[in-house]
């Protein structure tokens, strides 16, 4: 079970929870599970998210594999200048 | 509009061109003569990217009508190197990495050459004020000033 941290303003869609335990092997699975479990998160996920897995930022890495103890932080999709 | 025929010299070579009376020298160089080394950054004389010399005097080619240069000698970036041999300023700009995107570079080189033609031993402050009419957004000017000072030193040694 990956430990997923979501940013504060998304918590209204998760019943106030900041930490979510999600069973997923890849980032893509994780995002799918999140959208299924918490439909309120779907628009943001569709708009685009990046993730940090154990401190390393992945802008698009949907196929990145997750370890059971991975800490995944959801981030708005990264942009740069 | 009645087009004007103009005979002038560019980098010492004779040219004849026809232009509309409201065309700038920059338009003529770029669009009629295919000399795109001078760049249009603003068309209001505020950025210096279109710098040329007219009879040795530095100016912005966007502030000159093509029709005005009858009988005059225009100096552009295309005439700066001597055959294969780069001008010391060109060489030093490369060595000092005094360009990033490079769009302001022709204007800086023409302006810097004009400075060194008049003042072979400028101080840093003199370089900075002489080049104040050339905008660079990439470098913060540091390496440009160093390159000009270094080129001046090399030219004095030569």
């Amino acid at each position: 079970m990956a430990n997923v941290l979501i940013w504060s303003s998304l918590r209204s869609h998760t019943g106030g929870k900041a930490n979510l335990q999600i069973e997923a092997r890849t980032v893509r699975e994780l995002l799918d599970r999140l959208a299924e479990t918490y439909p309120g998160l779907k628009p943001q996920i569709q708009r685009g998210v990046s993730v940090s897995i154990d401190g390393v930022i992945f802008r698009d890495g949907w196929l990145e594999t997750l370890k059971p103890e991975s800490e995944v932080v959801l981030l708005p999709r990264m942009v740069g200048g | 509009m009645s087009a004007v025929t103009v005979n002038a010299k560019i980098n010492g070579d004779p040219v004849e061109f026809v232009c509309e009376p409201d065309e700038t020298l920059l338009d003529v160089l770029r669009n009629r003569l295919g000399m795109t080394g001078a760049k249009e950054g603003c068309s209001t004389g505020d950025c210096g990217a279109c710098s040329v010399t007219i009879d040795g005097r530095l100016t912005c080619s966007c502030l000159v009508l093509g029709a005005e240069v009858e009988g005059l000698n225009i100096g552009t970036i295309e005439g700066m190197a001597n055959g294969e041999k780069l001008h010391p300023l060109q060489k030093k700009f490369l060595e000092h990495a005094a360009l990033q995107c490079g769009v302001c570079t022709p204007g800086f080189l023409v302006a810097a050459k004009s400075l060194l033609d008049h003042n072979p031993k400028p101080t840093e402050t003199e370089v900075r004020f002489a080049l104040a009419g050339n905008l660079c957004r990439c470098t913060g000017y540091d390496k440009i000033v160093r390159a000009v000072m270094d080129a001046a030193a090399e030219m004095r040694r030569a």
Binding site: S9 | R30, G140
Partner: protein, 760 residues
Amino acid sequence: MPLDNTESQTRKFKVIGTRPIRPDGIDKVTGRARFGADAVAPGMLIGRVLRSPHAHARIKSIDYSKAMKLAGVKAVVTKDDFPDKTDGDAALYDVLYNVMAREKALYEGHAVAAVAATSAAIAKQALKLIKVDYEVLPHVTDVDEAMKPNAPVLHSKIFTDGVEPKPKKASNVVRRYEFGHGDVDAGFKRADIVIERHFRTEATHQGYIEPHACLANVGPDGQGELWVCTQGHFMVRDTCARLLGMDITKLRVTASEIGGGFGGKTTVFIEPVALALSRKANRPVKVVMSREEVFKATGPTSSSSIDVKIGCTKDGRIVAGDATLRYQGGAFPGSPVEFGAMTAFAQYDLENVRAVGYDVVANRPKQAAYRAPGAPMANFAVESVIEEMAHKVGMEPIDFRIKNAAREGTHSSYGPVYGPIGLLATLQKAREHPHFRAPLGKNQGRGMACGFWFNFGGQSCVTLNVGVDGTVGLVTGSPDIGGSRASMCLMAAEELGIPYDKVRSVVADTGSLGYNDVTDGSRTTFATGMACILAARDAIKKLCARAAQIWGIPEDAVVWENGHARPAGANAGNFEPMSLKEIAAQAPSTGGPIAGHHEYSADGAGVSFATHICDSEVDPETGFTKILRYTVLQDAGKAIHPSYVEGQFQGGAVQGIGWALNEEYIYGKDGRLQNAGFLDYRIPVCSDLPMIDTVILEIPNPGHPYGVRGVGETSIVPPLAAVANSVSAAVGVRMTETPISPPKLLKALESLGGMKKAAE
């Protein structure tokens, strides 16, 4: 990650870290380099765009029949030529709407029509013959005004997202973001000192010297070509093709040399218009923006209004940080407020932190990314309060920052836990730097600030072709905005073990290479550079295989060392090492061409921190601020070409100095931009500045084989606060609005004088 990156700690480099001449250098010092506006095509038409003079207006009708009758006019396009093909993609629809206004013009300068004619003069004349019937609507350009309940509403479909309950009334507030952890209210209860301040920053423009320019050529068969100055020609291709209903691969886009971008050339403006005109006229069409158009219709930054509250204990430990940020991002959703909120406190190790951001629309041009988008404004606010707080606690600001600095293991304000980071190293180096102890005179002051940016990787695709003479052609798809071709060559040369001057790097068009993300996010040297390394390793594998075949030994019995294939050991056989050149010479008769390739999406870019020190002198009678000395200390991970790393530090710092002191978008009551030119939009000139000293720190990024981190963006983050803090140190006033223009500073000095008199 297939890479063994531990070598970045110990590897002895041969060419990495040297400062060779860039491959595009000669072209750029001789005027031969071809930028966006330098291309021509046979039979080329000139395109011009008609723009709204109103900040907010309903477009009732557009009549261009007279324009079409003008001799020499070959095509006119309006919104009708851009049917909505965005298929529910809201962000893409906004791009479409920004490219050509639809039911409303949303800002002064919004494109409403365009013409293509046989000359610039005719095109200009034709624009005057287009009749647009506008119904002028009330407008709003200020962020705080735009958030008020009675403000003119730009979009009837925006109902603030992220607030409960969801509003029933449309407004200009697009979305609310919140980041952070801990309990800030509890934190503030433990605080001995609390400082709360309000800040405002005006919008600034990226200010690249080269205006947007492109040359489009589309035929009736649906195939097209586009020459364009952009930070990402693959992005341009995909976006234009989708907007215009073209097949993506039938549009070939070539990136010209690009005269600066800084984030401003990461989207499309005139490109779809030029393509549509070309398609309609069946002729090549060139469109070049004027400087005025660049200011009025391309991406400035957000303007912002920010509240910051920080609490700390008597001994200087921050116990809570709280910020509310409101960014106006122009006429469409998407201000970078979330990045402001994420980065505001990223440089500190905080138990309790909260940052709330509001994305707001207003009648201004759609903001575009600008170097570390969203971060400088937030940093200005937080680092100003930090400096003030340090003084209040009675600590040196640098000690206060060191005490509270984020470090490896810190739970960052935006979520993840930091790996090895270089913030403390930059602070410690700053303290040791001679600048830090240099004497100051009257009305002079020293300020500092620390800044952060994420950096990211993204998609890159690289091909490396070995020539029969042993030279190497490196094909990348990342437009080179600051000398990156030199860095790419260095990395390939390092891997292959050949001299730098045996590698030539070109930026390929979209028909010649797989997709490459935009050159942004400080990603190119990191991500495309790593692809170069991996493409070189792929080529090495093939070179070794070729040597193995020639020698008649197994492939795995050959290793690559110092530019040579050699048998792996005594058992492999006794053969003289073969150089790359020798193998290449035999390529035609030993199996054909040898090439390496790599395509991927890179991640693990590694965050970057910087500390800036600024000395300034204020003329107390005029409010003029002169920057006397400036030092940038930043972690680069590993500097591939140190000159261009320094260049990024210096350029970003000076853009930040401009933002701090003089750059701003000035709007009249009519909602029109009053300073759309380089005369009154005052970017720093050469005589405004001292040399910008740089210190490159190299704390290797474990996510890159050489340890590279992105370096392009962090340098614009700290200057706003560093300058403001130096002004405060010089003359004792705390400036909370940028730009710190002379009239504002003089006014502040006068009210300080008044307060001092009152106190006496």
